[in-house]
Every structure is written in structure tokens, then in C-alpha cells.
């Protein structure tokens, strides 16, 4: 042990992560619904491994501006996670939360950025608590950090994290459906030893 890489992760593990994603999405849905006062559905249509060098293109054009919310996680599992949203989806959620009606061409102000951090926090937290309750591992997220910049620049952060121990990254695509469909992506980046912990806690041997 100790040599496990993402390349060894089998399809069963992907199915389990997808299921955790679904449960997490369920939790997040109730949280967002409460916060925004609207009915939302969320599902996890797609979990995939992709080459680190392709990660910059995972959520659209490399130079398209997107929103990235980043959290570090610690305790039983060490690592970090990221939640990504395109600009129209981000404005949609901000407008719902702040009861405003502002356009996707406007830059985000301080208030909007902190609203987005909170949304990212809730969504990421819901996912982590699903992972935590299934694995019985304690996972504590840090405060959220935010960046609004080119997709490839934001995705260089997880690409580098994954790049340190392999050539693949794990991407979980999420769809939030309210009046409009919102596309978001999770990227979960446990450190190498934490993969084994997650797998063995889930009763999977690779």
C-alpha cells in the first residue's frame, strides 16, 4: 500500500463517489432551497477521471471567465475541494439569494462575492457531510476562498494538486435545476494517503 494512484481507482469506486455525490447533492438541495426560498433539484450526472493536462478544458473554454470556490479539508482526510460555476449560473444564484436582478456582464462586487462563497460553502459542505457520514471519517472544511478568472487559471490549482501524484484528476459534474438549469462542478482533491482511508472506510479494496 502507499502506492495507490488514481489510475488504480476502479469503476466501483467511481460509482461509490457518484452515490456520495448524489447524497451530498440531496443535502445541498435542501440547504439551498432553504436559503433561496425556491424549489431546486440537484443531481450528479457524471463522475469522471480525466487527464490533468486536460483539466483546464473540463468546464468549457480555457479562457472563459468562471467562478471557483476553494476549500481546504482536514482531520481524517487531508486535501482540498473546489466548486466551479459558470458566470450566468453564478449570477442566477446571487440574484436569487440577494433578491436582485443584475446581469452577467456586471463584475461581482464584495457582497456578491461573499454570497457566492456562502453558496459554495453550503454545496461543498453538503457533499463533505455525505462523504463523512458514509465513511465515518471526520472531515472539516476551511473557510471558502473565491476566484473569478479564466477557467484554465482556476483549474491549474487542482491540476497541480493532482499532478503531484499522478496524471489524472477526478471531476464530479453537478446539475442544479431550479427555474433554469445550473451547471456546477466539484473537484475533490484528497492527498494520497487519504484515498486509501476513503476506500478502506467504504470497504473497497483496489
Amino acid at each position: 500500500m502507499g502506492n495507490m494512484t488514481l489510475e488504480d481507482v476502479n469503476s466501483m469506486y467511481l460509482d461509490v463517489l457518484k452515490e456520495i455525490g448524489n447524497i451530498g447533492a440531496g443535502n445541498a438541495t435542501s440547504a439551498i432551497a432553504g436559503m433561496l426560498g425556491i424549489k431546486v433539484d440537484m443531481n450528479v450526472p457524471n463522475v469522471r477521471l480525466m487527464e490533468v493536462s486536460q483539466l483546464g478544458m473540463a468546464v468549457g473554454a480555457e479562457d472563459e471567465t468562471i467562478v471557483g470556490i476553494f476549500l481546504e479539508v482536514e482531520n481524517d482526510i487531508e486535501g482540498s475541494m473546489m466548486f466551479l460555476l459558470d458566470i450566468p449560473s453564478a449570477w442566477y444564484l446571487v440574484n436569487k439569494l440577494m433578491m436582485t436582478d443584475r446581469g452577467p456582464e456586471t463584475p461581482f462586487g464584495e457582497m456578491e462575492l461573499s454570497a457566492l462563497k456562502e453558496i459554495g460553502n453550503i454545496i461543498a459542505g453538503s457533499y463533505l457531510s455525505a462523504l463523512s457520514s458514509l465513511t465515518k471519517l471526520v472531515i472539516l472544511p476551511s473557510v471558502p476562498y473565491i476566484a473569478v478568472d479564466m477557467a484554465a487559471s482556476i483549474l491549474s490549482v487542482p491540476a497541480i494538486q493532482f499532478g503531484q501524484f499522478g496524471d489524472n484528476a477526478l471531476l464530479i459534474q453537478t446539475e442544479i435545476c431550479a427555474d433554469v438549469a445550473i451547471n456546477g462542478y466539484f473537484i475533490l482533491m484528497p492527498e494520497q494517503e487519504s484515498y486509501e482511508k476513503i476506500l478502506s472506510a467504504l470497504g473497497i479494496s483496489v
Binding site: 494512484t5 490533468v52 493536462s53 486536460q54 483539466l55 483546464g56 480555457e62 479562457d63 471567465t65 471557483g68 476553494f70 481546504e72 482540498s80 463584475p107 476562498y145 473565491i146 476566484a147 473569478v148 478568472d149 479564466m150 477557467a151 484554465a152 487559471s153 482556476i154 483549474l155 491549474s156 490549482v157 491540476a159 497541480i160 494538486q161 499532478g163 503531484q164 501524484f165 499522478g166 496524471d167
Partner: protein, 161 residues
């Protein structure tokens, strides 16, 4: 007509006048270019990590500063550049998220930029311009006709170094 050659993440390539070589959205990674102003031959590497010897899985040489910069040097010299005339420029190495403390995520950009400087010094190649650090992404282009290095960022004017 000049064409545009695209370099991806953990990738490298060479370029000759009148062509342009580009990489989109550098974050904490570094885009390093070599350029020979006489033969107008240049090249770019977009590396992600400072040191291949610290990583077990290091088969992609363009992913690391040490192996990537050396390979780029070999390629531009093979394409007609003279090592003694070569100059280097770098961009990227941003801290995309204002993470507190000295975590990996917080300082990898700075470490990537330092790695370029150390390796160039070893190789005896001059670093003539840099635009690194801070907290935003950069799209860069090397124009092989002029040797200009163009840097574009969201909400900022074009910068030429």
C-alpha cells in the same frame, strides 16, 4: 500568413517567425519562453511543478520546471536557435486563492517562478522579463517575428514585455 501554435498545460513546443505560440489561462503554472532574436526561433513550455525529482510519477517531462526547461532548450537549439543568444521570459506563478498560511496551494506559484530562475542561472541563459505572482490568471503569446511576449488578463489592459 502567420499561424498560432497552442501549448496546453504540461506541454511544450517550438515556434519560428512569423508564427505566434500561445498558452491560455496560466494560473499557478509558469509559461516560460526562449527566443533567439537573430534566427527568430522561439519556444514555450507550460509547466506545473518545480521539481521532477520530488514526484514519483514524473513521466511527462513538460510537467516540471527542470525537465521541461531542459527539453525546451534542446528543441529550440535543434530548430536553429543559438544557445548563447537565447533570452528567456516568464509569466504565471499566481496565487489564485488567498489561502492563509504556508500551504502547498498558497506557495506553489512562487516556487514555480523560483525554479525557473534557478534553472536559467544554471544554464547561463538570461531572464530578460517576467510578469509573475499576484492573484490573477494570464494568457500569454510569444510573437516570433518581434520577440514580444503579450500578456492578457481578465479586466486588465494588454501588457507587452
Amino acid at each position: 500568413m502567420s499561424k498560432v501554435i497552442k501549448v496546453g498545460m504540461a506541454d511544450l513546443n517550438i515556434c519560428k517567425a512569423p508564427d505566434v505560440i500561445t498558452t491560455l489561462g496560466l494560473g499557478s503554472c509558469i509559461g516560460l519562453v526562449f527566443y533567439d532574436p537573430v534566427t527568430k526561433v522561439g519556444g514555450m513550455v507550460h509547466y506545473m511543478l518545480p521539481d521532477s525529482t520530488k514526484v514519483r510519477n514524473n513521466s511527462n517531462i513538460a510537467k516540471f520546471a527542470d525537465t521541461g526547461i531542459n527539453e525546451l532548450l534542446r528543441r529550440v537549439v535543434a530548430a536553429g536557435a543559438n544557445k548563447r543568444r537565447l533570452v528567456a521570459k516568464i509569466a504565471g506563478g499566481a496565487k489564485m486563492f488567498e489561502v492563509s498560511g504556508l500551504s502547498e496551494v498558497g506557495n506553489i506559484g512562487a516556487r514555480n517562478a523560483e525554479a525557473a530562475k534557478a534553472i536559467l542561472k544554471q544554464l547561463g541563459i538570461r531572464l530578460v522579463a517576467e510578469e509573475t505572482g499576484l492573484n490573477y490568471g494570464r494568457t500569454v503569446e510569444l510573437h516570433c517575428e518581434t520577440g514580444e511576449f503579450h500578456i492578457k488578463s481578465v479586466g486588465k489592459p494588454l501588457k507587452i514585455i
